[in-house]
Amino acid sequence: MRKTISILSIFLMTFVLFTIAILAEEKDETKVTGKIVSGAQDIKVDAKSSKFFEYRDVPMGFTFGVFNVSIEKGNRYLNFNLSNLRQKDGRYNLNFGEYGKFDVNFLWDKTPHRFSFDGKTLYVGREEGGVYFYNLSDQVQLSAQSAQNITETRKLISNFLTGAHEIGLELIRNKGVLDIKFSPSVPLTLRVNAKRETRNGTRPFGASFGFNHVVEVPEPIDYKTTNLDFNAEYSKKWGTILAGFSYSNFENNLQTLVWDNPFRLTDNPAGSYINGDSSAFGRLALSPSNSANQFYFKGSFKPLKNTRINGSISFGTFNQDEKLLPYTINTVLTTYYSGALSSPRDTAKAKADITSIDLTLNTRIIKNLYLNAGFNSYDFKNKTEELNLPGYTRFDQAWEPAVSVEPYSFKRSKYYGDLTFNFLKSTSLKFGFSSSSIERELGEEDEGKTEETLYHASIDSNPTDWLLLRLSYLNSSREWSLDDVKKIYPTFNFKRYHEASRDREGLNLLVSISPLSNLDLSASYMQGKDDYKKSDYGLRNQDFSNYSFDLSYSLKNGSSFYAFYSNEVYKGNQRSRQSGATYSTDPRDDWSAELKDKIDSYGAGINAVVKKDKINLDLSYIYSKADGTSFLESPPGRTAGPDLAVNFTKKIDATTLQSIRAKLLWKIQPRVAMAIGYWYEQYDLEDITRNDLKVDMLLTGMAIYLGALEPSYKYHVGFVKFIYSF
């Protein structure tokens, strides 16, 4: 609240000062325009959920929705825009300047992100010196530790979980942006952009102790991000050059999370990492503070009227050098490695150099024939110092063999060329080719190279006012250099889709016609297919298709009507093999999954002029239903687990969103209007993994969750607004 008042005060002072400066100009008329919208709102809840308020506030009672004022005098201007005053999604924007000389823009924006109203936990949190602790009552831990066996332990903890307290699970982004543009002369522009954002709150976060001991806690978020950008641009008839520097700093005031193990009060020498009953605590490294900087230079040159040579180059670094935590918090693990409670080195020493180069030539070769060719390269060179570790711990429960930290680097390159031929009236035909590659390195090891050649063609035609046609097609083939060399898993041909060899095809068609001057119709169709031709296992293919129709119709009296429909289908087929302690060699252990998402969306709306310049009626309806399904298959005779895959009896996830809105606007007087309206929004969620979520799932799922439901909702909102324009 105090911060909001401070920010508003700064706005107000700046507003007053600059208003005086504008009005002090003796010549030129002062133009002041603006709008104030305030009113009242009521909400009726049929089914409550945080999802309705995910990124917005919908308040009850008095609302101050909008305050805009624009002052113009001669060449000076000032705009102040405020929306959603005193709400957590408020936005305040102050913009002033002199045309052709300078512009200053200051934005203060708040965005909530709400995860659940239903979260509950036994943990009590506190912060101390950059470490966040989640503690449980010793009684819980001692009772669990003293239990005879794991089943009894779970039952005991279940009893305690009935006393879990509510916890808010949301975070708020507060962002302030200052953008200053100064043009001392027409060709020269100097620009400064500064952004400061804080993010505070909590969100659900896994903090588990073992395969059979999953714990979820609220992750504490206390972030600050500062971004600065300075650049200078010089633009003349021969081209434009721009040089700049940007700096970004991310601070996380909470680097470490430590939480109690419900199963243990003291570390257990005989514990098992399966059951997670070895350590009394867990300790985890939260997102490390980091910084980035970049020098960049861009140029666009016009050697000839219809020729452009564009280039850009940037050098940047990412840095992260936070203190490293010890290997573990579990004192018992020193019996496996005496240094288990120490850190492998003081700090992370993580760094990456990033170089980006782009060069493009765009020219008209002959009349109606254009060439666009170029090259770009993005090189991410990870300079993190390698680290050879004598071992590491799993879940803080068990010591694992030696391992090395190897920095991952990659370099992306692309050469491309397009020829565009304009023929007939407003019709162009384009053919293009590109050759791209990604080279990967993990430490000293070459992780292979993927090379992709892509061909694409498109035709765009707008021969008359009433017809528009766009058609494009692409075909690409990607190969991985280690296809027949490197085995991800030793006993079956598994490939990872981000690097695997792949054939890709895509088609995109859009047709718009306007058979009447006030009627527009459009239809579009898109299709894409990826075939991972050399992947017997992993993602094998995926495709999508989408078709849509749109209509808009306007009447002579100014009324208009629109409607749309869209259908999308996404499918993915993947295959894997279930293994026990060693990799299975038996194809009977294979399984496959075909996932399919089908989405139907449609809507319509009407803006009706009931009485010209007096009464308007807006009505709209939107509906979107997404169904996620799966089909699982496995051959009979599996060596581990049930014989055949048992398909889910319900859709794996399905969501429906519907919204109806109605608003009647009555212009009482030229400057005064009143709006009365209603909107209804309904969201339904069917998710086999979330609908039945509870805090205590120890006996069924061996987990303690936050119970962070985002259930279905139904909200009715009625409002009345008064609008004053000046």
């Binding site: 522009t189 573990t328 993580a350 009349k367 993005y378 803080d396 279930q578 799966s630």
Partner: protein, 299 residues
């Protein structure tokens, strides 16, 4: 040198040769507009409302005057002949009748800088769009940038799939008015794929999700390369805008011994490897870990 590279080099050489050694193939640029200028007051004699709205708009301000003293005729060309002929439409440039390139050339006289620097050769330009496809000098409908309609509806005129995607359960706050398409994309042209206004997709995501930037002690390879390996930023019906539901998404890359390769079916519906956050119930630092024991992103 591989055959492919050789062919590329030859193609590039050929294209350069056409440019450099056959200048007679290059059509000389059109001569600057011929004719005499009438002045804005003459325009106002017949087009009073248009001139008034022009003067009230940003184009009617000092910034425009610094670049041109021709007002309406900067874009419409010399109008004296049109005035003297009593408003004969054939005596003046009709913007509507121009090709896309010619329409854009008018605007690019002043606006080929900043975010518009790479318009020529960009995806939208090469597909036949012009500045006037999205902007209107005389009749803008949006408050900012003289757009013919507000974002994101303007973009959805062509990008239908994305129009449906923002309605998904897991989405960026576009329909709440907190973000727009232009927060991530520069429709005027960039040298990055998908018109992303950053050097790469990941660098664009890091602008708001800076906690994912690292670098981390333990990197997750597909995460570092491209966020869209796992996420669909336009919207998804799966949690966290994932491309597919966990654990299936993760099992597209992981099929190690024991649990990553296990099939999770109806019999394991409440298993903590499937239920709630699935893999990330345990592997919570999935974007990268700075913990010495963070090899498998458990810590």
């Amino acid at each position: 040198m591989s055959k492919r590279k050789f062919l590329l080099l030859i193609s590039f050489f050929f294209a350069s040769a056409i440019l450099l050694f056959f200048p007679f193939l290059l059509t000389p640029g059109k001569a600057s507009a011929q004719g005499e200028y009438a002045g804005i007051e003459q325009c106002a004699m017949c087009h009073e409302d248009l001139v008034k709205s022009f003067k009230d708009s940003i184009h009617g301000k000092k910034g425009f005057e610094l670049r041109s003293d021709k007002a309406c005729e900067t874009c419409h060309g010399p109008a004296l002949a049109h005035v003297e002929a009593g408003g004969d439409k054939t005596k003046i440039k009709s913007v509507k009748a121009l090709s896309s390139e010619e329409k854009s050339d008018i605007c690019l006289q002043c606006h080929e800088r900043g975010r518009q620097m790479l318009w020529n050769g960009g995806v939208h330009e090469s597909r036949g769009l012009s500045c006037l496809t999205c902007h209107s000098v005389h009749n803008p409908k949006a408050e900012k940038s003289q757009l013919i309609s507000k974002e994101p509806e303007l973009c959805f005129n062509c990008h239908k799939k994305n129009k449906a995607q923002i309605l998904r359960a897991s989405h960026h706050p576009i329909r709440e008015g907190k973000m727009n398409c232009s927060d991530c994309h520069n429709p005027h042209g960039t040298q990055t794929e998908k018109l992303i206004s950053a050097n790469s997709i990941t660098e664009k995501c890091y602008e708001c999700h800076t906690e994912k930037r690292g670098p981390f002690l333990w990197e997750h390879v597909p995460v570092r390369e491209d966020c869209s390996n796992c996420h669909d930023p336009h919207g998804s019906n799966h949690q966290k805008m994932l491309n597919a539901k966990m654990p299936f998404l993760c099992q597209r890359c992981h099929s190690d011994t024991r649990h990553p390769g296990t099939i999770y079916d109806q019999t394991q519906i409440v298993s903590n490897r499937l239920f709630n956050r699935s893999c990330t119930n345990c592997h919570s630092t999935i974007h990268g870990s700075n913990h010495p024991s963070g090899k498998t992103f458990l810590r």
